[in-house]
């Protein structure tokens, strides 16, 4: 895996911005991810479209916008990328390591 591009989405992109920082910190300490080109962005869930999502391998929704999962999945259906809701406990405790693992897990096991 040479590239990893993850899109995090919440209501305004505020709480996921905190998460992006923590996930980048976790990745920076990892030797296994040292050679990987990592891109993690936080955007408001309402801004997700085919255009904005095309450069990502996975879309991860904050649990507070989990009720929009189906809508967002339909919006990016043509891209064939996984859209998942982040585990509430991991999200709440800002467990960036687990969320990064879940992103990699989703990318690797998709299809």
């Amino acid at each position: 895996m040479e590239n990893l591009s993850i899109c995090l989405a919440c209501n305004l992109g505020a709480s996921t911005s905190i998460l992006v920082k923590k996930m980048n910190e976790v990745a920076a300490t990892s030797k296994k991810l040292a050679a990987v080109q990592l891109k993690i962005d936080a955007i408001p869930a309402g801004n997700i479209s085919m255009e904005t999502a095309k450069s990502y391998q996975v879309i991860m929704l904050g649990p507070q916008v989990g009720h929009r999962h189906q809508e967002i999945e339909q919006k990016v259906a043509g891209l064939d990328i996984p859209v998942v809701v982040i585990d509430a406990a991991d999200y709440g405790s800002m467990n960036a390591a687990n969320i990064l693992k879940e992103a990699i897990y989703q990318i690797k096991t998709h299809n």
Partner: protein, 408 residues
């Protein structure tokens, strides 16, 4: 036992309400309204900077020319806020759907219905652009319907018919709108619209109740309520700016600043109180959660603590979150109403606490109000948190990711 029964009832509501909320949030008009407010924040920020400059000049500098200049600038902005909001909303809708004529028509309707009353910066400020948008859509749809019906019956050069009908239809339609507005003014309907407001204790309770209830079922309450609440709250803020520009005293309490920096101080549901309680907890995992939530609480981001404990669908926290915080909100409203703290008149966007409260009011007593609110909220959550903590079991991580061969 009672709490379990309560949670089962809430759970039934949750199952029914979730698909509806999903549909509301995916609605194009709802989404664009929300985005329009995000862009409109820039205008509010500019107005706030001018208003703060005016206030500081009044308090310390006393320069008459500067006073005149900032008053005129503020008046210009507040008088044209309706136009600016309509322009932003039209642009966002046009960007998504095209059909420019809808928005041209809406602008003409807005010009006619606002007319000489443009300086009237009260509740109707943002309701009128919405009304104009709606009337514009109805007029265009009516025109298309009539044109189609005529074309079915008559066989004459199309372009000629289009132009003739367009002139007649819109000439009379706009004239009708103008006459209706004049009649409307005579009936005093404008005053009735201005009376519909959220700046009263009942609405404060209701809005905070709905917001925290949505959080309780795991949905961002602010995200759902913002387009409607901000419609009124922003109008109130603009009315406060308008009063300041005219040298009058601002009177509205429920502004976006009141919602963001006071009702949701440290996050919706005053969840900073829970951050404090988790930091003092005997359970290591809860203390760790508290530490990771401090940053969010300073910026009024409540997600980490709400999902971390979790508060979502956790019966221990139903009463303090869903009933307690609305009551605290009403108390805060009365503190402003009694004049104990200057009104939250200045919008300072995503400034962290305590600077947000201080700059929003330019009054040091706002710090006491914020501290008092967090203190009361901590006392309110405390017995419920203790009951929760006594039954809290620390869980261990799963082995789901073992095969990924990662080193973190």
């Amino acid at each position: 036992m009672t709490l379990d029964r309560l949670n089962r009832s809430v759970s039934k509501i949750q199952i029914k309400i979730m698909p509806v909320l999903g549909k509301i949030e995916s609605n194009q008009y709802f989404r664009n309204m929300k985005n329009a407010f995000l862009y409109f924040n820039y205008i509010l920020l500019v107005s706030s900077v001018i208003a703060i400059a005016k206030q500081l000049n009044l308090m310390f500098i006393h320069n008459h020319s500067f006073e005149l200049l900032v008053s005129k600038a503020l008046l210009l902005l507040t008088n044209n806020c309706g136009w600016l909001f309509l322009a932003i909303l039209c642009f966002l809708l046009y960007r998504e759907h095209g059909n420019l004529y809808y928005y041209i028509c809406s602008s003409v309707v807005y010009l006619l219905v606002s007319g000489e009353h443009l300086s009237d910066a009260r509740t109707e400020l943002l309701l009128l652009p919405l009304l104009a948008l709606l009337v514009g859509f109805v007029l265009i749809t009516g025109y298309q319907f009539i044109l189609k019906s005529i074309k079915k019956r008559l066989n004459i050069p199309m372009k000629f018919l289009d132009n003739l009908l367009l002139m007649l239809y819109f000439g009379f339609a706009f004239l009708g709108c103008y006459l209706l507005t004049r009649y409307w003014s005579q009936l005093g309907i404008r005053n009735v619209i201005n009376e519909i407001n959220i700046d009263n204790p009942f609405m404060v309770f209701l809005i905070v109740f709905l917001e925290t209830f949505l959080w309780y079922i795991g949905v961002n309450g602010y995200g759902i309520l913002a387009p409607v609440v901000l419609l009124f709250a922003t109008s109130n803020l603009n009315a406060n700016f308008h009063a300041m520009a005219l040298g009058e005293t601002p009177k509205y309490i429920f502004t976006p600043n009141f919602w963001d920096y006071f009702l949701s101080a440290t996050g919706a549901g005053i969840t900073g109180a829970l951050v404090i309680l988790t930091l003092l907890s005997k359970k290591a995992k809860l203390r760790q959660l508290g530490r990771s939530s401090i940053g969010g609480a300073c910026f009024s981001v409540s997600e980490p603590i709400i999902f971390g404990i979790p508060v979502v669908m956790n019966p221990y926290f139903f009463f303090p979150l869903v009933v307690g915080t609305p009551i605290l909100g009403v108390v805060q409203w009365f503190v402003f109403k009694m004049g104990w703290v200057a009104l939250p008149t200045y919008f300072v966007a995503d400034m962290p606490l305590p600077f947000a409260a201080l700059l929003a009011t330019l009054d040091w007593r706002s710090l006491i109000l914020t501290l008092g609110t967090i203190g009361l909220a901590t006392l309110m959550y405390w017995p419920f948190f203790k009951a929760f903590e006594a039954n809290y079991v620390e869980t261990k991580g799963s082995h789901k990711y073992d095969d990924l061969d990662l080193d973190f």
